[in-house]
Symmetry: D2
């Protein structure tokens, strides 16, 4: 049955396989000291117009969030996130596992609002009990968010301004970064993002690679002995060559953006289709995920023909359901979906 | 200047000093294997009518919450608490430091409501992403709460029922337990509490002792090698004899309740006094803490004559302020306070 | 330059690539619920003659050691290992990161000796200060060891007997398991191993896969909510399908053993070659790693023609150097090496 | 029965009780902001001739070691200690609990030798696998050691020199500091110690107080937000006034040294007595602990008349036993002991 459950149902982009086959028997040093990794880093540095960027390739999203946040935070600090943030909800407590609290603030359309963050930090420092509380040591946001929504450049800059006023870094989880940047409603490039935030990652697990997230420290601010901290989290891949190779391929001839664009087009067609039929969408998502509100009956009927994910309760009678596209989504499958709703 | 800032401004009850002097040069084994500790445990077991209770004396509240919660939870579990709970707000992330998330639910008058907890756990187990989330492994409440309010026996039983339906323990933070139990609005004895919950502690730091919290596992459910886990948290006192001696004294001839009663009487007089003068109280507190809403001007004026604590912002113009009494509060000081408000 | 530095310098076995290409666009559920994973598990269960085996595929060795040890140990326990054990030396403190001490015992030829372990545990429980110490909660060994040596079946059984006497599990790190089992000096099958120990893993990162370690709980003893604990360690792969596919391929038609055999043959030729020329070997290794003692001059000269790893200081004048073969080692490269030593 | 089991069998010095009684009802701020604490800090600063010393009073030794080491170390670092060090053996893994490895080096008479430490660190940085290992981030020693032995000033300076060459701090566990400094074989003052090391603590639990360890950062090097980190470890005492009062008393008119001197005199008499009778002592201890080698028969006989501690196995037939004196040891009890051996 055709699946719109998530954006990691298929393998990897054929161009990656191609290069994999070509380079397979080439001997390379382990742990990211290989030639593909070096090349990939250089391409990313050019793409983001940040010649000093410090880049590390990790395997998965939760691993990346855990490793980066733990390496950046001081021991007495926590990380601010939207209450809908991935680290706050769906990472099985991976952040707390490393000793750090996730300090949540109510979301607005899946996003943190700069003025809310400012108020939170101000109140923290005004509190007489400050020293009995967890210091805010970082702000975490997702671009796009867990609900497919996007920060405008101005919104993200405002967050960065608050962060820098309090001398804490802004970290952008880019597990679906490509799907955000190519959206018609995006007003940022990857280079803009790199300038605004202090650390971010370029997700590839969900965008054409088999796995892989490229962590980028943009302000010459990589934590000391970061490689050892990666190892300490069990996150150092022996055959790092493959991470390098995948990112090198994705950042050749704009492949990363090209395949992102396809997914967003497919998603926007799905969005339009549901809206035309009168379905309610949970939020306005200009990226690759759509959250559709349906009754149990509607959902059950549709579930006989295609796969999609149950998301969360909407009200006593309805739930929201997630439909996701990706680089590999077939146009004919989208047509089919639209024909049956 | 007279202080109503907290309930740990004075030393310890004179009867404790007396016994301290008497027994000072007696040689006793360390680490809680002394004769005073044994005697104190026995008295507490009788008081709570639980002959099998497993009791350990620790030094402070945060230490006790951290040690108990960490020892009880499985590694994949977090602890449910009210969003106003001490462990959620004022313990500098001590719970997260041990790798566990505090799962917060909005409070009602400082309390967790059983139906809210039930809904939270139900939704957790209905979620398709359950395995990507932190399992609820315990419910934490304070009696009295951080706002001085009290659970009725029925409310606490309802919480225990939810816990036991899902086979997780109910833990009661009794840092101010005495001040709760002696309140005229309390409908529980310590023995009732011991029957209802799975583990609780009897606070003495704030009730007559120099320090000390008596952890009580009531269902033959003390975690394995609990003493080693106490040591591992840096919480094992070499001269445990003093902890034993203090609790032995407090549980002789009802001293713990007697001195609690005095504090609550003083607090209720303060409450009545403020109400008479038309001040607004944040919540109805029948115990030893009162939270008074005042304008900046009112507060500043009063602060010239007595000490009290700034609590939290009430609205754009007003804050709430905390006035606390304890076993050592002098009646004349209360009279003085009431004369100047 | 030809490299004998390690056994992860090349990509993956061609048969894996083949299946990768074939199945690439097939939609599969994430997180290990795919059909390849199911098939691979079934093949392993048959191979080890353990129909109830609980199997999980993880990405790397340190990650696997960290996740398994942390999930199995109680909070007050540590893990016993040889002082040369990988977890004791070369994992950047990944075990301690999760709160657990590595309790080391001096190695004999890279191995733990059952009688030493027994004495260690006996003395622990005889100690009056037992409760102030870290409880031994598991025994960790590597097969083959970090020095390429092998436990006989009897030696491993003796270790298991000690473990079971004290009711703690025996965990076998099989990062290079294949290279051990196919050795002419091995007297165990994988099924024997599964019977003797409580949990082990089948390493594939170094044996034909791009990455991958198959954790096997053999006594119906998988820790509760193990998947969530995997997630909490950042170790849950979104596209788990690829792990499944790799193991499914390796366990079809004995590929795992076949490619292991090749590596060991190559290594034994290297061993014989060095010995013939009068070089001293650090230990007698019947598997795929050889540790050759050389003077600085000898090493420098050889390093101009082939790559190998500096291992550790042997004495004031000499160091030991590591030469490793793997499934991908070319016979002609071994010939070349032997021609220049 | 008279006990020589440890140095924490009695209560506290009478002068402390006296001041406790005097000041009991005085209202003071909590958490170490009281007037006694301020006064005690000032006296210690004068005693150690270090006007900028940053001082914090904690409750117990393991708690202090855990809090200081965790607050000082970077996340990728471990702490070097003698294999007989208290943190390596008898703290139930409290250091590992915070995520840090204890890196052990074989002791010489209970001490770390500077050249051994230097060699260890040198080899670490020469290792090609450095980034896969735990960075040495601190050196921990005890003065006196766990075996009652003492570092000479030159030995300690040599250790500090190694530390400073590698830019890591030297931390001195002074749980029994007074008993070391007053020894006839000591060639250091507390001011010397403060100059040489980077952080140390002045133990009082075992020297006249009911509990208490004064942590002293001597180089303006207190970790940021140390108070919050103390709270996070559950180590912040509400009634910190009592810690202040005890240290204030001990550092008035040289009481700390005076009572230390008594204990060491008593211990040296015991030492001489055992030696006269031909007993073997495990090490030469010029402080307050003596380790006597006895046969089972000898020990059993003596144990009928006085209490002492079983220490560790000496050989197949003999064990060593510990006899400890303290500020409270009665001369007549020592006479009695010497009369029965």
């Amino acid at each position: 049955m055709i699946s719109f459950v998530n954006d990691y149902s298929e393998g990897m982009h054929p161009k990656i396989i191609e290069r994999l086959v070509e380079t397979n028997m080439q001997q390379e040093p382990g742990y990211g000291f290989d030639s593909f990794t070096e090349s990939a880093k250089e391409k990313i540095r050019q793409e983001i117009d940040c010649p000093d960027a410090q880049i590390t390739f990790l395997v998965g999203g939760t691993q990346t969030n855990q490793t980066v946040i733990d390496a950046v935070l001081n021991k007495y600090e926590g990380v601010i996130a939207a209450d809908t943030g991935h680290i706050a909800v769906h990472e099985a407590g991976a952040i707390e596992k490393t000793g750090h609290k996730v300090l949540t603030i109510p979301h607005q359309n899946g996003k943190l609002v700069a003025s809310d963050v400012k108020k939170y930090i101000e109140r923290f420092y005004e509190d007489e009990n400050e020293e009995h509380m967890v210091y805010p040591g970082m702000v975490y946001i997702s671009y796009p968010t867990e609900y497919g929504t996007l920060y405008s450049k101005q919104e993200m800059k405002a967050l960065a301004d608050v962060c820098h006023e309090y001398e804490i870094p802004l970290f952008v989880d880019g597990a679906r970064l490509g799907y955000g940047l190519v959206s018609k409603e995006a007003d940022m490039t990857m280079a803009d993002l790199a300038k605004i935030c202090d650390v971010f990652y370029i997700g590839a697990t969900k965008i054409g690679a088999l796995f892989g997230e490229a962590v980028v420290f943009t302000k010459n601010n990589e934590p000391k002995h970061f490689m050892t901290q990666v190892k300490q989290h069990g996150a150092l891949l022996a055959k790092g060559r493959f991470l390098g190779l995948m990112f090198d391929t994705l950042f050749t001839d704009g492949l990363y953006y090209e395949i992102s664009r396809h997914a967003v087009e497919m998603s926007q067609r799905i969005k339009a289709g549901f809206e035309e039929k009168g379905y309610q969408l949970l939020m306005h998502s200009p990226t690759n995920q759509q959250f559709v509100v349906m009754s149990d009956e509607q959902a059950a009927k549709l579930a006989q023909k295609v796969k999609f994910a149950t998301w969360e309760r909407y009200d006593d009678e309805k739930m929201s359901y997630r439909f996701v596209t990706c680089w590999a989504t077939l146009e004919e499958n989208v047509d089919y979906l639209l024909s049956i709703i």
